[in-house]
C-alpha cells in the first residue's frame, strides 16, 4: 500500500516525538554531566592527585573552610576537626574529619565532596582523601578520617576563600546489595 502525504508526515512526527523522549531520558543526563565536567561548574573535585605543583607561593594566603553535612536521614556524627585553615598555594596540608556511627548496626558511608566557588574546583588537589573510599564503621565505632590537599599556585587571583563541603551518604544497603550479587 503506497503511503499518502498524511501518513508520511504523521510518521515523521512520531519519529521526532520518540526522538525527543530518548533525548530527554538518555541524552540529557550524560550531556549534563559532561558539560559540568568540562566547564567545572558542578564544583566537583577530581580524583586522587598524583602530579606535582610549582614551588610554594608564600606571598599568597588562601582561607580554606570545611563543611560536613549528613544527607537525608544519615544518623552519623560527622564534623571537621578544624573548621578553617590558612594555607599557601603549593603547600601540602593535612586535616582530619571525625565520624561516629551511634547506631546499633554496622554501616557503610560515602562522602561526596564539593567546592565553592566553582572555578576553584580544578585547582584544589587532593592527594589523600577519605572520600576516595567507602567508610565502614561498626555499631558505636568512631574514627578520624584524613584529607591531604594542595592548592594549585595557578588558582585565579580572584579566589581568596575556598569552601570544601562533604555530604555523607548512607550506602549500607547499596553496598550489601552489590556484595550479594557478586557472591
Amino acid at each position: 500500500m503506497p503511503i499518502n502525504a498524511t501518513q508520511k508526515i504523521t510518521l515523521k512526527l512520531v519519529v521526532v516525538a520518540i526522538g525527543m523522549f530518548v533525548f530527554a531520558v538518555f541524552l540529557m543526563p550524560p550531556l549534563y554531566d559532561v558539560f559540568c565536567e568540562l566547564t567545572g561548574i558542578g564544583g566537583k573535585t577530581k580524583g586522587q592527585f598524583e602530579g606535582t605543583t610549582a614551588a610554594v607561593d608564600v606571598e599568597r594566603e588562601i582561607k580554606i573552610q570545611f563543611v560536613a553535612t549528613n544527607n537525608g536521614a544519615m544518623p552519623w556524627e560527622f564534623s571537621p576537626l578544624q573548621y578553617q585553615v590558612r594555607v599557601h598555594p603549593g603547600e601540602k596540608t593535612a586535616v582530619e574529619f571525625y565520624a561516629k556511627n551511634p547506631t546499633s548496626r554496622d554501616m557503610v558511608a560515602q562522602a561526596i565532596p564539593n567546592i565553592t566557588p566553582n572555578n576553584a574546583a580544578e585547582f584544589f588537589h587532593k592527594t589523600e582523601c577519605f572520600c576516595f573510599d567507602k567508610q565502614v564503621l561498626k555499631a558505636g565505632e568512631e574514627a578520624n578520617m584524613g584529607l591531604v590537599f594542595i592548592v594549585d599556585p595557578e588558582l585565579p587571583a580572584s579566589v581568596t576563600t575556598i569552601t570544601l563541603s562533604y555530604t555523607l551518604f548512607d550506602v549500607t544497603e547499596a553496598t550489601e546489595a552489590a556484595v550479594a550479587t557478586t557472591n
Partner: protein, 517 residues
C-alpha cells in the same frame, strides 16, 4: 448524500467530526476551568486573612499544585485544541481534520488522564503537593505515594497533546484548499501550526522527565538523587526545557485569536501580516534557548546568568513587533467595541503589562530578589489569564454565533467583560506589591504586614470567579435561547473562509474545496 450526525451518545463516543470533537474539547476544558477555579477560590479564601482558617497547610499545598496543573493542562491547552479543531478546517477550507480517528482517541483519553490526577484528592496521602513544577526531590524522595497517579496522568495528557498536534500539522500541511498558500493562512492557523511543532518537540521531554521520576521512585535509579550520583538541578533543566516552550504553547494560539478579532472590529486588514508570521517563528525558536531564566537562583556561573538574561530579553523584540502590529491595526480604524473586541483589547494591554514584568524578572540580579515571590505569581497570571484566558473568551464570543446560529446577548457579554476585567486587576495587581515587599509564594499563611493587599486580592479573585459563572450562563443561554441568526458574516468587518459558510455551520463543510483567489 450529506448525512447529519449520529443520534444519541454514540455521536460523541465515536465522534470523528472535527466540529463535534472541537465542541467536546471546549466543554471539557471549561469543566476543568471550573474545577481549577474552585481550587483557586479555596486558595484565595484561605489567604483572605492571616492565620489558618479554612484548610490545613498540607491541603493548601495540594490546592496550589492541583490548581496549576488543572489550569495549564486541563483548561488552557485543551480549550485551544478545541478551538483548533473547530476553526482550522473552516479557515483553510478543509472538509475535516486529516486524522479523524486519532482525533477521537486524543480527546477521549483526556478525561481518563484527569480522572487519574483528580482521584488522588480522595486517596490516602492526598493529591500532589509539590507545586505544578514538581521539582525533585520534593516530587520524588518526599512525594506522597499518589505521585504515581500523577505521573501516569501526565503521560496520558502528554500523549493526547502529541496526537492532537500531529493531527493539526498534518491538516494544515496537507488539506489546504487550492490557492490557500502558506502566506495566505489566517494567523490563527499559523500560530497553531507553530505551536503544534513546539508541542511535538517538548511534550516528549515532559513525558521523559516524569518517567525518570517514576524510575527514581520505583526502580532505584538516581537521576535526580544526589545520594546515588544524580542531581536535582538536572531535574530543573529538563523540566524548564519543556516548561519555557510550554508557556509559548499557551500564548501563541491566543495571539492567533486576537489577530483575527482586532482586524474585524477595526474594519482594517491586519497590519504587518508577514512580520507576524516571522515574529511568531522567532518567538518559538527563542523559547528553546532561554529556559534557565527560571533557575537564576540555582547557583549558575556568571556567564550562564548573563547569557540567559540577555537571551530572555531578546524575546521581548518579536513580542513587541506583535503588540505594535495590533495597535497599528487599530490605529485610524473604524473601531467598534463588541464583547470579543473588548476582551481582545484588554488582552493587548494586560498581556503587555505581563511582558514588562517578565522583563523585570529576566534581570538576573533582580530576579534573585523576586524569585519565588508573589511578584512571579502576578507576572504569570497577567500572561496566562489576561493573555490566554481572555483571548479564549474573546474567541468564544466571536465564533459562537457561527457555531450555533444564535447571537449572544451583547449587554450580558459586556457585563461579563467588565466584571472579569476589574476583578482580574483587583486580584493580581496587589500580588506584585506583595511580592516586591517580600511575600513568598506557595505558603498557606503570611506575615501581618501583608494582610491588606491579600484581602484586596482575594476580593478581586472572587469577582473574577463570579464572572466565569456569568460566562457559563451566557454561553448556555445563547445556545438555548439566543436570538437566531443566519447571516453568513456575523460581523460585517470579518474576513476569511469561515464567514463564507452558512450560519450555523453545517455538520459537513467544504466537502468540495473552495477556490481561494
Amino acid at each position: 448524500m450529506a448525512h447529519g450526525p449520529a443520534k444519541g451518545i454514540g455521536r460523541w463516543l465515536f465522534a470523528t467530526n472535527h466540529k463535534d470533537i472541537g465542541t467536546m474539547y471546549l466543554w471539557f476544558s471549561f469543566a476543568m476551568f471550573l474545577l481549577g477555579g474552585t481550587f483557586a477560590m479555596i486558595i484565595r479564601a484561605e489567604l483572605f486573612a492571616p492565620g489558618m482558617q479554612l484548610v490545613k497547610p498540607e491541603f493548601f499545598n495540594q490546592m496550589t499544585t492541583m490548581h496549576g496543573l488543572v489550569m495549564v493542562f486541563g483548561a488552557i491547552m485543551p480549550s485551544f485544541v478545541g478551538l483548533a479543531n473547530w476553526m482550522i478546517p473552516l479557515q483553510i477550507g478543509a472538509p475535516d481534520m486529516a486524522l479523524p480517528r486519532m482525533n477521537n482517541l486524543s480527546f477521549w483519553i483526556l478525561p481518563f488522564g484527569f480522572a487519574l490526577l483528580a482521584s488522588t484528592l480522595f486517596m490516602e496521602g492526598g493529591a500532589p503537593n509539590f507545586g505544578w513544577t514538581f521539582y525533585a526531590p520534593l516530587s520524588t524522595t518526599y512525594a506522597p505515594d499518589t505521585v504515581n497517579f500523577f505521573i501516569f496522568g501526565v503521560h496520558i495528557i502528554g500523549a493526547s497533546s502529541i496526537m492532537g498536534s500531529i493531527n493539526i500539522i498534518a491538516t494544515v500541511l496537507n488539506l489546504r484548499a487550492p490557492g490557500m498558500t502558506m502566506m495566505k493562512l489566517p494567523l490563527f492557523v499559523w500560530t497553531w501550526l507553530i505551536t503544534a511543532f513546539l508541542l511535538v518537540a517538548v511534550m516528549p521531554v515532559l513525558a521523559g522527565v516524569v518517567t525518570m521520576m517514576l524510575m527514581d521512585i520505583n526502580f532505584g535509579t538516581s537521576f535526580f538523587d544526589a545520594a546515588g550520583g544524580g542531581d536535582p538541578v538536572l531535574f530543573q533543566h529538563i523540566f524548564w526545557f519543556f516548561g519555557h516552550p510550554e508557556v509559548y504553547i499557551i500564548i501563541l494560539p491566543a495571539f492567533g485569536v486576537v489577530s483575527a478579532i482586532i482586524p474585524t472590529f477595526s474594519r482594517k486588514p491586519l497590519f504587518g501580516y508577514s512580520s507576524m508570521v516571522y515574529a511568531t517563528s522567532a518567538i518559538a525558536f527563542l523559547s528553546f534557548i532561554v529556559w534557565a531564566h527560571h533557575m537564576f537562583t540555582t547557583g549558575m556561573p556568571i556567564a550562564g546568568e548573563l547569557y540567559f538574561m540577555y537571551a530572555t530579553m531578546l524575546i521581548a523584540v518579536p513580542t513587541g513587533v506583535k503588540v505594535f502590529n495590533w495597535i497599528t491595526t487599530m490605529f485610524r480604524g473604524s473601531l467598534s467595541f463588541e464583547t470579543p473586541m473588548l476582551f481582545a483589547i484588554a488582552f493587548v494591554i494586560l498581556f503587555t503589562f505581563g511582558g514588562f514584568t517578565g522583563l523585570m524578572l529576566a534581570v538576573a540580579p533582580a530576579d534573585i530578589q523576586y524569585h519565588d515571590s508573589y511578584f512571579v505569581v502576578g507576572h504569570f497570571h497577567y500572561v496566562m489569564v489576561a493573555g490566554a484566558v481572555f483571548s479564549m473568551t474573546a474567541g468564544i464570543y466571536y465564533w459562537l454565533p457561527k457555531w450555533c446560529g444564535k447571537m449572544y446577548d451583547e449587554t450580558m457579554g459586556k457585563l461579563q467583560f467588565w466584571i472579569a476585567f476589574i476583578g482580574f486587576n483587583i486580584a493580581f495587581i496587589p500580588q506584585h506589591f506583595l511580592g516586591l515587599a517580600g511575600m513568598p509564594r506557595r505558603y498557606a499563611d503570611y506575615a501581618l504586614q501583608f494582610s491588606d493587599w491579600n484581602m484586596v486580592s482575594s476580593i478581586g479573585a472572587f469577582m473574577y470567579g463570579a464572572a466565569q459563572l456569568l460566562f457559563l450562563y451566557n454561553v448556555i443561554r445563547t445556545i438555548v435561547a439566543g436570538e437566531p441568526t443566519s447571516e453568513e458574516k456575523t460581523w460585517e468587518g470579518a474576513e476569511g473562509l469561515e464567514w463564507t459558510l452558512p450560519t450555523p455551520a453545517p455538520f459537513h463543510t467544504f466537502s468540495t474545496p473552495p477556490e481561494v483567489k
